[in-house]
Amino acid sequence: MKAEQDARLRVLRFGRVSPLRSQTLWHAIAEGVSNGAPATLSFMRPDSPYVSVGYHHDLGQVDLDACERAGLPVYRRMVGGGAVYLDEGQLFFQITVAATDLPPARHDALSRLLTPALAAFDAAGLPAHLDRSGEILVGDRKVCGHGAGQIGNAVVVVGNLIECFHHETAAGLMRTPGRATAAEALRLMRRYVGPEEGSSVDPVAFEHAAVRSYAEALGREPSEGRLTGVEREALARWDRRLASPEWQAGPARRRSSAWQLKVRSGVYVVAAEHAGARVEASVVDGRLDALRLEDPEASGGASAAVQALRGRPLAEVPAVLADLGAAGRRLTAAFAAASGGEVAVTSRARAATSQEAR
Protein backbone atom coordinates (compact mmCIF):
# COMPACT_ATOMS: atom_id res chain seq x y z
CA MET A 1 0.00 0.00 0.00
CA LYS A 2 2.80 2.35 0.92
CA ALA A 3 4.66 1.65 -2.31
CA GLU A 4 1.48 2.38 -4.27
CA GLN A 5 1.01 5.71 -2.49
CA ASP A 6 4.65 6.61 -3.00
CA ALA A 7 4.28 6.20 -6.77
CA ARG A 8 1.71 9.00 -6.91
CA LEU A 9 2.13 12.68 -7.47
CA ARG A 10 -0.19 14.22 -4.91
CA VAL A 11 -1.88 17.33 -6.28
CA LEU A 12 -3.12 19.93 -3.79
CA ARG A 13 -5.15 22.94 -4.94
CA PHE A 14 -5.79 25.55 -2.27
CA GLY A 15 -7.31 28.34 -4.38
CA ARG A 16 -7.14 31.80 -2.79
CA VAL A 17 -5.49 31.89 0.62
CA SER A 18 -4.20 34.55 2.98
CA PRO A 19 -0.68 35.87 2.44
CA LEU A 20 0.50 33.96 5.52
CA ARG A 21 -1.00 30.68 4.32
CA SER A 22 0.43 31.19 0.85
CA GLN A 23 3.80 30.68 2.54
CA THR A 24 3.06 28.37 5.47
CA LEU A 25 1.10 25.79 3.49
CA TRP A 26 4.09 24.68 1.46
CA HIS A 27 6.41 24.73 4.49
CA ALA A 28 3.96 22.31 6.12
CA ILE A 29 3.77 20.17 2.97
CA ALA A 30 7.56 19.90 3.01
CA GLU A 31 7.36 18.54 6.54
CA GLY A 32 4.74 16.07 5.35
CA VAL A 33 6.87 14.87 2.45
CA SER A 34 9.83 14.70 4.79
CA ASN A 35 7.73 12.37 6.96
CA GLY A 36 6.69 10.05 4.16
CA ALA A 37 3.92 11.82 2.21
CA PRO A 38 4.29 11.36 -1.56
CA ALA A 39 5.86 13.90 -3.88
CA THR A 40 3.45 16.80 -4.09
CA LEU A 41 2.56 19.51 -6.57
CA SER A 42 0.58 22.31 -4.97
CA PHE A 43 -1.08 25.51 -6.17
CA MET A 44 -2.42 28.59 -4.44
CA ARG A 45 -2.93 32.29 -4.94
CA PRO A 46 -2.61 34.99 -2.28
CA ASP A 47 -5.85 36.88 -1.76
CA SER A 48 -4.03 40.16 -1.04
CA PRO A 49 -0.59 41.71 -1.55
CA TYR A 50 2.44 41.24 0.68
CA VAL A 51 6.22 41.13 0.65
CA SER A 52 8.36 38.03 1.14
CA VAL A 53 12.09 37.83 1.76
CA GLY A 54 14.43 34.89 1.17
CA TYR A 55 15.77 32.96 4.14
CA HIS A 56 19.14 34.73 4.25
CA HIS A 57 18.00 38.06 2.87
CA ASP A 58 18.66 41.28 4.74
CA LEU A 59 15.34 42.67 5.94
CA GLY A 60 16.91 46.12 5.82
CA GLN A 61 16.51 46.08 2.04
CA VAL A 62 12.74 46.24 2.42
CA ASP A 63 11.09 49.59 3.21
CA LEU A 64 9.23 48.31 6.25
CA ASP A 65 7.63 51.72 6.87
CA ALA A 66 6.18 51.72 3.36
CA CYS A 67 4.91 48.18 3.88
CA GLU A 68 3.27 49.18 7.14
CA ARG A 69 1.65 52.27 5.59
CA ALA A 70 0.26 50.08 2.82
CA GLY A 71 -0.87 47.45 5.33
CA LEU A 72 1.31 44.77 3.76
CA PRO A 73 2.77 41.99 5.89
CA VAL A 74 6.36 40.85 5.38
CA TYR A 75 7.13 37.13 5.67
CA ARG A 76 10.49 35.41 5.58
CA ARG A 77 10.41 32.14 3.63
CA MET A 78 12.66 29.12 4.09
CA VAL A 79 13.90 29.13 0.53
CA GLY A 80 16.46 31.37 -1.12
CA GLY A 81 16.32 34.56 -3.12
CA GLY A 82 15.67 38.18 -2.34
CA ALA A 83 12.77 40.44 -1.42
CA VAL A 84 9.73 40.09 -3.66
CA TYR A 85 6.36 41.76 -3.95
CA LEU A 86 3.55 39.21 -4.27
CA ASP A 87 -0.13 39.69 -4.99
CA GLU A 88 -3.24 38.10 -6.43
CA GLY A 89 -1.91 38.56 -9.96
CA GLN A 90 0.48 35.68 -9.34
CA LEU A 91 -0.35 31.98 -9.20
CA PHE A 92 2.01 30.13 -6.88
CA PHE A 93 3.13 26.56 -7.49
CA GLN A 94 5.37 24.29 -5.46
CA ILE A 95 6.91 20.92 -6.19
CA THR A 96 8.05 19.01 -3.12
CA VAL A 97 9.94 15.72 -3.25
CA ALA A 98 12.08 13.58 -0.98
CA ALA A 99 15.68 14.77 -0.99
CA THR A 100 16.81 11.22 -1.70
CA ASP A 101 14.97 11.31 -5.04
CA LEU A 102 17.21 14.14 -6.29
CA PRO A 103 20.83 14.40 -7.39
CA PRO A 104 23.06 15.77 -4.64
CA ALA A 105 24.30 18.66 -6.80
CA ARG A 106 22.00 21.57 -6.10
CA HIS A 107 22.17 22.98 -9.60
CA ASP A 108 21.06 19.65 -11.05
CA ALA A 109 18.32 19.20 -8.46
CA LEU A 110 16.98 22.67 -9.17
CA SER A 111 17.08 22.14 -12.91
CA ARG A 112 15.26 18.83 -12.58
CA LEU A 113 12.46 20.43 -10.58
CA LEU A 114 12.13 23.62 -12.64
CA THR A 115 12.30 22.19 -16.16
CA PRO A 116 8.83 20.55 -16.08
CA ALA A 117 7.32 23.98 -15.34
CA LEU A 118 8.34 25.20 -18.80
CA ALA A 119 5.56 23.19 -20.46
CA ALA A 120 3.08 24.81 -18.10
CA PHE A 121 4.29 28.32 -18.94
CA ASP A 122 4.01 27.44 -22.60
CA ALA A 123 0.44 26.20 -22.14
CA ALA A 124 -0.39 29.42 -20.28
CA GLY A 125 0.70 31.46 -23.29
CA LEU A 126 4.25 32.23 -22.20
CA PRO A 127 6.85 30.37 -24.29
CA ALA A 128 9.49 30.36 -21.58
CA HIS A 129 12.97 28.96 -21.29
CA LEU A 130 15.25 28.17 -18.36
CA ASP A 131 18.50 30.09 -18.38
CA ARG A 132 21.79 28.87 -16.91
CA SER A 133 21.12 30.54 -13.58
CA GLY A 134 17.74 28.83 -13.24
CA GLU A 135 15.66 31.86 -14.18
CA ILE A 136 12.48 31.21 -16.17
CA LEU A 137 12.30 33.84 -18.89
CA VAL A 138 10.30 34.80 -21.94
CA GLY A 139 12.92 36.44 -24.09
CA ASP A 140 14.84 38.36 -21.45
CA ARG A 141 11.85 39.03 -19.20
CA LYS A 142 11.41 37.14 -15.94
CA VAL A 143 7.95 35.54 -15.74
CA CYS A 144 8.56 33.34 -12.70
CA GLY A 145 10.16 34.01 -9.37
CA HIS A 146 11.55 30.89 -7.77
CA GLY A 147 13.40 29.64 -4.73
CA ALA A 148 14.37 26.27 -3.30
CA GLY A 149 15.19 24.78 0.02
CA GLN A 150 15.63 21.60 1.96
CA ILE A 151 13.22 21.29 4.87
CA GLY A 152 13.87 18.14 6.84
CA ASN A 153 14.34 15.38 4.29
CA ALA A 154 12.28 17.10 1.62
CA VAL A 155 13.29 19.55 -1.09
CA VAL A 156 10.77 22.14 -2.16
CA VAL A 157 10.99 24.36 -5.21
CA VAL A 158 8.54 27.24 -5.22
CA GLY A 159 7.65 29.39 -8.17
CA ASN A 160 4.97 31.67 -9.47
CA LEU A 161 3.25 32.36 -12.73
CA ILE A 162 3.41 36.14 -13.00
CA GLU A 163 0.22 37.01 -14.84
CA CYS A 164 0.68 40.74 -14.39
CA PHE A 165 3.16 42.68 -12.29
CA HIS A 166 2.65 45.99 -10.49
CA HIS A 167 6.08 47.49 -11.01
CA GLU A 168 5.45 50.82 -9.26
CA THR A 169 4.10 49.13 -6.14
CA ALA A 170 6.95 46.62 -6.04
CA ALA A 171 9.66 49.24 -6.54
CA GLY A 172 8.09 51.49 -3.91
CA LEU A 173 8.40 48.81 -1.24
CA MET A 174 12.16 48.36 -1.60
CA ARG A 175 14.51 50.55 0.40
CA THR A 176 16.74 52.51 -1.94
CA PRO A 177 19.56 54.99 -1.22
CA GLY A 178 17.85 57.81 -3.11
CA ARG A 179 15.43 58.87 -5.80
CA ALA A 180 17.81 58.13 -8.66
CA THR A 181 18.32 54.51 -7.61
CA ALA A 182 14.58 54.14 -6.96
CA ALA A 183 13.85 55.40 -10.46
CA GLU A 184 16.47 53.10 -11.94
CA ALA A 185 15.07 50.11 -10.04
CA LEU A 186 11.60 50.90 -11.42
CA ARG A 187 12.96 51.31 -14.96
CA LEU A 188 14.70 47.93 -14.82
CA MET A 189 11.68 46.21 -13.26
CA ARG A 190 9.48 47.51 -16.08
CA ARG A 191 12.04 46.37 -18.60
CA TYR A 192 12.82 42.91 -17.19
CA VAL A 193 9.99 41.66 -14.93
CA GLY A 194 6.60 40.25 -15.89
CA PRO A 195 5.05 39.34 -19.22
CA GLU A 196 4.99 41.95 -22.00
CA GLU A 197 2.11 44.34 -21.57
CA GLY A 198 -0.96 42.99 -23.32
CA SER A 199 0.11 39.36 -22.97
CA SER A 200 -2.72 36.94 -22.39
CA VAL A 201 -1.89 34.49 -19.61
CA ASP A 202 -4.09 31.47 -18.83
CA PRO A 203 -3.62 30.20 -15.25
CA VAL A 204 -6.08 27.31 -15.70
CA ALA A 205 -4.11 25.96 -18.62
CA PHE A 206 -0.96 26.44 -16.54
CA GLU A 207 -2.27 24.22 -13.73
CA HIS A 208 -3.43 21.45 -16.07
CA ALA A 209 -0.16 21.40 -17.97
CA ALA A 210 1.94 21.57 -14.81
CA VAL A 211 0.24 18.46 -13.42
CA ARG A 212 0.82 16.56 -16.65
CA SER A 213 4.39 17.72 -17.04
CA TYR A 214 5.53 17.09 -13.45
CA ALA A 215 3.80 13.68 -13.35
CA GLU A 216 5.59 12.65 -16.51
CA ALA A 217 8.96 14.04 -15.44
CA LEU A 218 8.80 12.32 -12.05
CA GLY A 219 7.28 9.11 -13.41
CA ARG A 220 4.28 9.33 -11.10
CA GLU A 221 0.54 9.11 -11.44
CA PRO A 222 -1.19 12.40 -10.51
CA SER A 223 -3.78 12.11 -7.79
CA GLU A 224 -5.82 14.86 -6.12
CA GLY A 225 -5.18 14.82 -2.40
CA ARG A 226 -5.38 16.73 0.84
CA LEU A 227 -3.18 17.61 3.78
CA THR A 228 -2.23 14.84 6.19
CA GLY A 229 -2.61 15.13 9.95
CA VAL A 230 1.13 15.71 10.27
CA GLU A 231 0.85 18.57 7.78
CA ARG A 232 -2.12 20.18 9.52
CA GLU A 233 -0.20 20.19 12.78
CA ALA A 234 2.87 21.55 11.02
CA LEU A 235 0.76 24.25 9.41
CA ALA A 236 -0.29 25.67 12.77
CA ARG A 237 3.34 25.67 13.86
CA TRP A 238 4.53 27.40 10.67
CA ASP A 239 1.72 29.96 11.00
CA ARG A 240 3.10 30.95 14.39
CA ARG A 241 6.70 30.83 13.27
CA LEU A 242 6.41 32.99 10.15
CA ALA A 243 4.33 35.58 12.01
CA SER A 244 6.90 35.94 14.79
CA PRO A 245 9.32 38.90 14.88
CA GLU A 246 12.25 36.54 15.57
CA TRP A 247 11.64 34.57 12.40
CA GLN A 248 11.07 37.75 10.40
CA ALA A 249 14.46 39.09 11.55
CA GLY A 250 16.16 36.00 10.09
CA PRO A 251 19.53 34.44 10.76
CA ALA A 252 22.33 36.74 11.89
CA ARG A 253 24.22 38.18 8.96
CA ARG A 254 26.83 40.80 8.36
CA ARG A 255 25.37 44.11 7.19
CA SER A 256 26.96 45.32 3.98
CA SER A 257 27.90 48.98 3.62
CA ALA A 258 26.80 48.77 0.00
CA TRP A 259 23.28 48.58 -1.40
CA GLN A 260 22.27 46.09 -4.05
CA LEU A 261 18.85 45.34 -5.56
CA LYS A 262 18.41 42.29 -7.76
CA VAL A 263 15.76 42.80 -10.42
CA ARG A 264 16.28 39.39 -12.00
CA SER A 265 19.27 37.11 -12.38
CA GLY A 266 22.01 39.21 -14.00
CA VAL A 267 20.15 42.53 -13.58
CA TYR A 268 21.07 44.66 -10.57
CA VAL A 269 21.05 48.22 -9.29
CA VAL A 270 23.98 48.84 -6.93
CA ALA A 271 25.26 51.79 -4.90
CA ALA A 272 28.20 52.31 -2.57
CA GLU A 273 30.56 54.95 -1.16
CA HIS A 274 34.25 54.86 -0.45
CA ALA A 275 36.28 57.71 1.06
CA GLY A 276 33.98 60.39 -0.35
CA ALA A 277 33.54 58.74 -3.75
CA ARG A 278 30.09 57.46 -4.66
CA VAL A 279 28.92 55.03 -7.31
CA GLU A 280 25.37 54.25 -8.41
CA ALA A 281 25.07 51.84 -11.29
CA SER A 282 22.85 49.34 -12.97
CA VAL A 283 24.42 46.13 -14.24
CA VAL A 284 22.82 43.99 -16.93
CA ASP A 285 24.42 40.60 -17.60
CA GLY A 286 27.81 41.77 -16.35
CA ARG A 287 27.86 45.09 -18.24
CA LEU A 288 27.28 48.58 -16.91
CA ASP A 289 23.96 49.88 -18.18
CA ALA A 290 23.53 53.24 -16.46
CA LEU A 291 25.70 54.89 -13.85
CA ARG A 292 26.47 57.97 -11.79
CA LEU A 293 29.90 58.71 -10.35
CA GLU A 294 30.69 61.32 -7.74
CA ASP A 295 34.07 62.27 -6.31
CA PRO A 296 35.12 65.64 -4.89
CA GLU A 297 38.22 65.73 -7.12
CA ALA A 298 36.82 64.31 -10.34
CA SER A 299 33.99 66.57 -11.46
CA GLY A 300 34.81 66.81 -15.17
CA GLY A 301 36.65 63.51 -15.34
CA ALA A 302 33.72 61.68 -13.78
CA SER A 303 31.45 62.70 -16.67
CA ALA A 304 33.93 61.42 -19.19
CA ALA A 305 34.35 58.21 -17.22
CA VAL A 306 30.57 57.69 -17.17
CA GLN A 307 30.53 57.92 -20.96
CA ALA A 308 33.50 55.58 -21.25
CA LEU A 309 32.11 52.98 -18.87
CA ARG A 310 28.57 52.71 -20.21
CA GLY A 311 28.13 49.30 -21.85
CA ARG A 312 31.47 48.00 -20.61
CA PRO A 313 31.98 44.84 -18.52
CA LEU A 314 32.49 45.40 -14.79
CA ALA A 315 35.96 43.88 -15.11
CA GLU A 316 37.11 46.90 -17.15
CA VAL A 317 36.19 49.45 -14.46
CA PRO A 318 39.68 49.70 -12.87
CA ALA A 319 41.41 50.27 -16.22
CA VAL A 320 38.98 52.96 -17.35
CA LEU A 321 39.10 54.81 -14.02
CA ALA A 322 42.90 54.62 -13.74
CA ASP A 323 43.20 57.89 -15.70
CA LEU A 324 41.48 59.74 -12.84
CA GLY A 325 44.36 59.12 -10.43
CA ALA A 326 43.42 59.10 -6.74
CA ALA A 327 39.77 59.85 -7.57
CA GLY A 328 39.76 56.88 -9.94
CA ARG A 329 41.12 54.61 -7.23
CA ARG A 330 38.45 55.80 -4.80
CA LEU A 331 35.72 55.24 -7.38
CA THR A 332 37.12 51.81 -8.23
CA ALA A 333 37.08 50.94 -4.55
CA ALA A 334 33.46 52.10 -4.35
CA PHE A 335 32.65 49.85 -7.31
CA ALA A 336 34.33 46.93 -5.52
CA ALA A 337 32.25 47.66 -2.42
CA ALA A 338 29.05 47.92 -4.48
CA SER A 339 29.67 44.66 -6.23
CA GLY A 340 29.59 41.25 -4.62
CA GLY A 341 27.45 38.15 -4.70
CA GLU A 342 26.41 37.52 -8.28
CA VAL A 343 27.76 40.86 -9.48
CA ALA A 344 31.37 40.13 -10.41
CA VAL A 345 34.17 41.54 -8.30
CA THR A 346 37.48 41.97 -10.07
CA SER A 347 40.79 41.23 -8.42
CA ARG A 348 42.09 44.63 -9.55
CA ALA A 349 39.14 46.36 -7.92
CA ARG A 350 39.88 44.49 -4.71
CA ALA A 351 43.50 45.56 -4.95
CA ALA A 352 42.36 49.16 -5.32
CA THR A 353 40.21 48.77 -2.22
CA SER A 354 43.19 47.51 -0.26
CA GLN A 355 45.38 50.33 -1.56
CA GLU A 356 42.80 52.94 -0.56
CA ALA A 357 42.43 51.36 2.84
CA ARG A 358 46.16 51.69 3.42
Binding site: H56, G81, P103, L110, G149, Q150, R254, E342
Partner: protein, 154 residues
Protein backbone atom coordinates in the same frame (compact mmCIF):
# COMPACT_ATOMS: atom_id res chain seq x y z
CA UNK B 1 50.89 11.49 -2.34
CA UNK B 2 52.78 14.67 -1.43
CA UNK B 3 53.32 16.59 1.77
CA UNK B 4 52.93 20.38 1.80
CA UNK B 5 53.14 22.44 4.99
CA UNK B 6 52.55 19.29 7.00
CA UNK B 7 49.46 18.38 4.99
CA UNK B 8 49.24 15.02 3.23
CA UNK B 9 47.77 15.67 -0.18
CA UNK B 10 46.81 13.25 -2.92
CA UNK B 11 45.15 13.56 -6.31
CA UNK B 12 42.10 11.33 -6.20
CA UNK B 13 39.89 11.07 -9.28
CA UNK B 14 40.73 14.64 -10.24
CA UNK B 15 40.40 16.15 -6.76
CA UNK B 16 43.16 17.38 -4.45
CA UNK B 17 42.32 15.60 -1.21
CA UNK B 18 43.88 15.94 2.24
CA UNK B 19 44.50 12.50 3.63
CA UNK B 20 45.50 13.75 7.09
CA UNK B 21 41.93 14.92 7.86
CA UNK B 22 38.81 13.02 8.85
CA UNK B 23 35.58 13.12 6.84
CA UNK B 24 31.88 13.12 7.80
CA UNK B 25 30.19 11.03 5.14
CA UNK B 26 26.62 12.20 5.87
CA UNK B 27 27.30 15.81 4.88
CA UNK B 28 30.48 16.05 2.78
CA UNK B 29 32.49 17.77 5.53
CA UNK B 30 36.12 17.56 6.59
CA UNK B 31 37.20 17.59 10.23
CA UNK B 32 40.61 18.60 11.56
CA UNK B 33 41.40 17.65 15.13
CA UNK B 34 43.08 20.49 17.05
CA UNK B 35 44.82 20.62 20.38
CA UNK B 36 42.78 21.08 23.54
CA UNK B 37 39.87 18.86 22.53
CA UNK B 38 38.79 21.05 19.66
CA UNK B 39 38.05 20.36 16.00
CA UNK B 40 37.77 22.53 12.92
CA UNK B 41 35.10 21.78 10.30
CA UNK B 42 34.76 22.70 6.62
CA UNK B 43 33.09 21.61 3.40
CA UNK B 44 35.16 19.01 1.54
CA UNK B 45 35.97 19.40 -2.19
CA UNK B 46 32.98 17.31 -3.29
CA UNK B 47 30.65 19.12 -0.92
CA UNK B 48 31.91 22.42 -2.26
CA UNK B 49 31.36 21.32 -5.85
CA UNK B 50 27.88 19.90 -5.36
CA UNK B 51 26.78 22.96 -3.37
CA UNK B 52 27.75 25.31 -6.21
CA UNK B 53 28.92 28.87 -5.71
CA UNK B 54 27.68 29.86 -2.29
CA UNK B 55 25.93 33.23 -2.15
CA UNK B 56 25.00 33.09 1.52
CA UNK B 57 26.27 31.32 4.59
CA UNK B 58 24.80 31.59 8.08
CA UNK B 59 26.42 29.93 11.08
CA UNK B 60 25.22 29.51 14.64
CA UNK B 61 26.64 31.99 17.14
CA UNK B 62 29.82 31.31 19.08
CA UNK B 63 28.86 29.62 22.33
CA UNK B 64 26.03 27.60 20.81
CA UNK B 65 25.84 23.97 21.88
CA UNK B 66 25.45 21.65 18.90
CA UNK B 67 24.60 17.97 18.60
CA UNK B 68 25.98 15.65 15.92
CA UNK B 69 23.66 15.62 12.89
CA UNK B 70 21.81 18.76 13.97
CA UNK B 71 21.99 22.20 12.29
CA UNK B 72 25.18 24.19 12.43
CA UNK B 73 23.88 26.82 10.05
CA UNK B 74 22.60 27.11 6.50
CA UNK B 75 23.95 27.56 3.00
CA UNK B 76 22.46 29.19 -0.08
CA UNK B 77 23.52 28.80 -3.70
CA UNK B 78 21.36 29.57 -6.73
CA UNK B 79 18.46 30.51 -4.41
CA UNK B 80 18.62 26.99 -2.93
CA UNK B 81 18.80 27.00 0.86
CA UNK B 82 20.13 23.90 2.56
CA UNK B 83 21.04 22.93 6.07
CA UNK B 84 24.60 22.62 7.28
CA UNK B 85 24.80 19.91 9.93
CA UNK B 86 27.49 19.34 12.48
CA UNK B 87 29.63 16.19 12.37
CA UNK B 88 30.43 16.48 16.08
CA UNK B 89 28.71 17.45 19.31
CA UNK B 90 30.03 20.22 21.47
CA UNK B 91 30.18 23.97 21.78
CA UNK B 92 31.01 26.28 18.87
CA UNK B 93 34.02 28.31 19.96
CA UNK B 94 34.84 30.14 16.70
CA UNK B 95 33.31 30.89 13.32
CA UNK B 96 35.22 31.95 10.22
CA UNK B 97 33.95 35.48 9.61
CA UNK B 98 35.97 35.84 6.40
CA UNK B 99 34.01 32.98 4.86
CA UNK B 100 30.70 34.28 6.21
CA UNK B 101 31.48 37.59 4.48
CA UNK B 102 32.55 35.88 1.24
CA UNK B 103 30.99 32.39 1.06
CA UNK B 104 32.34 31.91 -2.47
CA UNK B 105 35.75 31.31 -0.83
CA UNK B 106 34.57 27.78 0.01
CA UNK B 107 34.41 26.82 -3.66
CA UNK B 108 37.81 28.40 -4.35
CA UNK B 109 39.62 26.76 -1.42
CA UNK B 110 37.58 24.17 0.51
CA UNK B 111 40.37 23.25 2.91
CA UNK B 112 41.45 26.83 3.55
CA UNK B 113 37.87 27.94 4.20
CA UNK B 114 37.06 26.38 7.53
CA UNK B 115 33.60 27.17 8.87
CA UNK B 116 33.57 26.57 12.63
CA UNK B 117 35.68 25.35 15.51
CA UNK B 118 33.99 23.10 18.03
CA UNK B 119 35.03 22.23 21.56
CA UNK B 120 34.15 18.56 21.63
CA UNK B 121 31.65 17.18 24.09
CA UNK B 122 32.03 13.59 22.90
CA UNK B 123 35.53 12.83 21.72
CA UNK B 124 34.45 9.29 20.83
CA UNK B 125 32.44 10.71 17.91
CA UNK B 126 35.76 11.24 16.12
CA UNK B 127 36.00 7.45 15.77
CA UNK B 128 32.84 7.47 13.63
CA UNK B 129 34.46 9.68 10.97
CA UNK B 130 36.31 8.36 7.92
CA UNK B 131 40.02 8.77 8.60
CA UNK B 132 43.50 7.39 8.07
CA UNK B 133 44.10 4.77 5.41
CA UNK B 134 40.43 4.60 4.44
CA UNK B 135 40.17 8.23 3.28
CA UNK B 136 41.54 7.71 -0.24
CA UNK B 137 39.22 4.80 -0.98
CA UNK B 138 36.25 6.56 0.54
CA UNK B 139 36.79 9.66 -1.56
CA UNK B 140 37.39 7.69 -4.77
CA UNK B 141 34.18 5.71 -4.17
CA UNK B 142 32.17 8.92 -3.71
CA UNK B 143 33.54 10.47 -6.88
CA UNK B 144 32.80 7.30 -8.82
CA UNK B 145 29.25 7.17 -7.47
CA UNK B 146 28.59 10.84 -8.24
CA UNK B 147 29.94 10.41 -11.76
CA UNK B 148 27.82 7.30 -12.28
CA UNK B 149 24.77 9.29 -11.18
CA UNK B 150 25.68 12.11 -13.54
CA UNK B 151 26.31 14.56 -10.70
CA UNK B 152 29.91 15.23 -11.71
CA UNK B 153 31.41 15.62 -15.14
CA UNK B 154 33.67 12.78 -16.33
Amino acid sequence: MSTEHGQQLADISGYRVRLDLAYFREADLWVETLAGGRARVGLDPLGAETSGTLAQLALVAVGTAVTRGQPLGSLEAEKFVGPLVTPLSGSVVATNEAVVARPSLVEQDPYGSWLVEIELARVEELDELVSGETVAGYFADRVERYRREGVLAE
